[in-house]
């Protein structure tokens, strides 16, 4: 599904990703963990096509196509979704209109007819239940006046509407209390299938109690320095990052 090879990326001339490789197969959930400033959010941004980041080396293949060659909207049309760490408020653009526009553009890209208005509304009702999002929020301007938790739930709701093949959750757990965290996690779990994959970027192990990953990777200084199964996350929770980072630093120096 996603094949990242030796990816290097920089922003404002500063290299953040320094040769990152990762392979995600259909149906898998991969967790990316790591201390602040290790490059977690940069990875999410580069994959989603944020223009401020410049890829200087490496390749990213998504479903057999060159992801880095695509504009941000084309990536979404191909089935990639980024749940933002800080969802943007857009006054005046209603959630519903925006989602219908997005959904229909994606359908058009896949040679499908626009969605019927009735089916669309039914879908909104159905998918908003998934994250217990009040449908009234769906009619408001995008994220405007939403609480932190509502914004994050709205991200998962949008993901449920667009039904991507790869969902990237960029610190979706940050700023959530435990109840909201459970709701968000349960939403993700319901979207899980053999066909689609998730990349869960998180600072804490907490979220992984509810979204069980197949693989856990530690990102440090722009590279994945250790990979393991879900027990690695528990180990990190217990021991912190130092026991992995220290030997690496000695090795480098």
């Amino acid at each position: 599904m996603l094949n990242i090879k030796d990816l290097k990326a920089e922003i404002d001339g500063k290299e953040i990703l320094k040769g990152l490789s990762l392979n995600v197969n259909p149906g898998e959930i991969h967790a990316i963990m790591g201390p602040n400033g290790s490059g977690k959010s940069t990875l999410a941004s580069v994959l989603a096509g944020r223009e401020e980041y410049e890829v200087t080396d490496g390749t990213v293949e998504f479903l057999g196509k060159d992801l880095l060659d695509m504009a941000a909207d084309v990536r979404a049309k191909e089935g990639l979704f980024l749940a933002f760490q800080y969802p943007v408020e857009i006054p005046g653009v209603s959630n519903i209109n925006f989602l219908r526009t997005a959904l229909n553009e994606i359908r058009e890209y896949n040679n499908q007819d626009p969605i019927d208005a009735k089916d669309f509304l039914e879908m909104v009702r159905d998918r908003s239940k998934l994250v217990e999002l009040n449908t009234k929020l769906a009619n408001r301007s995008i994220n405007e006046g939403f609480s932190g938790g509502e914004k994050k739930r709205n991200e998962i709701f949008q993901m449920a509407m667009l039904n991507p093949k790869l969902g990237i959750l960029d610190e979706t757990d940050s700023g959530l209390d435990i109840d909201a965290l459970k709701i968000v996690a349960s939403g993700v779990n319901q979207l899980r299938s053999k066909e689609n994959s998730f990349l869960v970027i998180t600072h804490y192990q907490r979220l992984l109690n509810y979204i069980e990953p197949d693989f856990v990777h530690v990102l440090y200084n722009g590279q994945i320095i250790k990979s393991g199964d879900k027990s690695l996350a528990l180990e990190l929770e217990e021991k912190g990052y130092d026991w992995i980072i220290k030997p690496k630093e000695i090795e480098n120096s």
Binding site: D73, A76, I90, P91, F98, I106, S141, I142, Q158, L162
Partner: protein
């Protein structure tokens, strides 16, 4: 200087004869014409005209006296509104609705000169060129007078149809509300393959005690026509005035919106949306004179400039020494959609009272990049994302218009306009 000037008005002699027939006001016309002839053409040296060059419009001549051909086009009317139609500046009674409402007099100045109001220019401009030109040569225009405690039960649409080219149209109008009245008036322009016209309108508005007037201007005058549009509005105690200026299409559009709050407790709302493309030039000047205490003014102007278009917003507010407890708010937000588009935004506050709340804000920029990326990350193309953002930006102004039919019509216009951008 007047000697060198190309005769702006073709057939002035003939025009004077027509004006002479009107009798009483002829001497005023003559003194106006004298003042106008002495008044230099506005140039960039005048602060008031710094960003808008009108000389190219004035260094040529126009037909003024009309030998109107019978009008053959068709005009769609709003069934839920009264409609007055003017063709090339002249009232067309056969196309217009006859309106019978208690205490409401509606007509045109050519037929009912007494219905008009004498212009009170409170702007201290010592005779603006276009005001003088209008004073000198206006022939016709709408006049509405509402008696105390009466109202217009339906909105009144004043539709100006342009069917001829190379005309100078000096349109004069007035709307006078007595005490405790209510009226909603829409002024719009329809161009039927008319080009190179210069339209120069002056509207007198008087809003009496406890009255409410909403005056909405929809300016889509055709790509090759020019419009200078002025209001002089006087507000009495506890009155509410809303002026919505929606500038959509025209080669050069200049609005001078002047309001004097002269009765305590009065409030005005000046809303503007101007959207430029190609080489359009749209200039909005507002002037609010807070002459007495306890009044409030609210201004919201938004500009969206594309291609090589140029927009101007200049909002002047004077709070006079006695006008304590004044609230004056002004906001001008602009979006530039092209590298070559320009905006000049200038607030001017002159405050002589000490117990007032005044604020002004101005922002000009491109569309929010973070929001653009958010939309694109959901599969929406850059073009469509841009449309959604511009639509949302402009819509805030449309929501200030109280007439649902007009709001919906403009909403459709926005949707159409930005789909056109998508298709090209």
């Amino acid at each position: 200087m007047s000697e060198d000037r190309i005769a702006l008005v073709k057939g002035e002699d003939r025009l004077l004869k027509i004006l002479e027939k009107q009798g009483a006001s002829y001497s005023q016309r003559i003194s106006s014409i004298e003042a106008w002839k002495k008044c230099p053409i506005p140039s960039r040296k005048d602060e008031y005209w710094k960003y808008t060059r009108v000389a190219p419009l004035l260094n040529r001549s126009y037909d003024v006296v009309l030998d109107n051909k019978p009008f053959t086009g068709s005009i769609t009317k709003d069934e839920d509104a009264y409609t007055l139609i003017f063709v090339d500046g002249h009232f067309a009674p056969e196309l217009s609705d006859s309106i019978t409402e208690k205490g409401v007099e509606i007509g045109n100045l050519d037929a009912k000169p007494n219905l008009g109001l004498e212009l009170k220019d409170f702007t201290n401009s010592k005779g603006d060129y276009f005001t003088l030109l209008n004073n000198s040569f206006y022939l016709d225009g709408p006049a509405i007078k509402i008696q105390d405690n009466c109202e217009l039960t339906k909105a009144l649409h004043i539709v100006h149809v342009l069917s001829e080219s190379d005309r100078l149209l000096n349109v004069r109008g007035s709307i006078e509300l007595g005490k405790n009245c209510n009226a909603k008036v829409v002024e719009r322009w329809v161009s039927q393959s008319a080009n190179d016209n210069l339209i120069n309108t002056v509207m007198n508005l008087v809003v009496g005690n406890d009255s409410s007037l909403e005056f909405t201007k929809i300016q889509a005058i055709g790509k090759e026509n020019n419009l200078i549009s002025q209001e002089f509005a006087l507000q009495e105690s506890d009155s509410i005035l809303r002026i919505n200026t929606i500038s959509l299409e025209g080669k050069l559009i200049r609005n001078n919106c002047n309001v004097r709050l002269q009765g305590m407790g009065s409030e005005c709302f000046l809303n503007g949306l101007f959207m430029g493309r190609d080489n359009q030039h749209i200039d909005n000047h507002t002037f609010v004179d807070h002459a007495v205490p306890h009044c409030q003014s609210n201004e919201l102007y938004k500009g969206v400039m594309d291609d090589h278009s140029k927009g101007v917003f200049n909002g002047k507010v004077i709070v006079q020494r006695d006008a304590q407890k004044t609230n004056a708010f002004q906001y001008n937000g602009n979006i530039l959609l092209s590298q070559n588009a320009q905006i000049y935004s200038k607030p001017e506050l002159e405050i002589y009272a000490d117990d007032v709340k005044c604020s002004h804000g101005s922002t000009t920029g491109q569309l929010d990049k973070e929001a653009m990326f958010y939309l694109q990350s959901r599969g929406i193309s850059a073009k469509r994302a841009r449309q959604l953002m511009v639509y949302a930006f402009a819509k805030e102004v449309l929501e200030k218009i109280s007439l649902p039919a007009i709001r919906e019509e403009l909403d459709r216009y926005l949707i159409d306009r930005y789909q056109i951008v998508l298709d090209t």
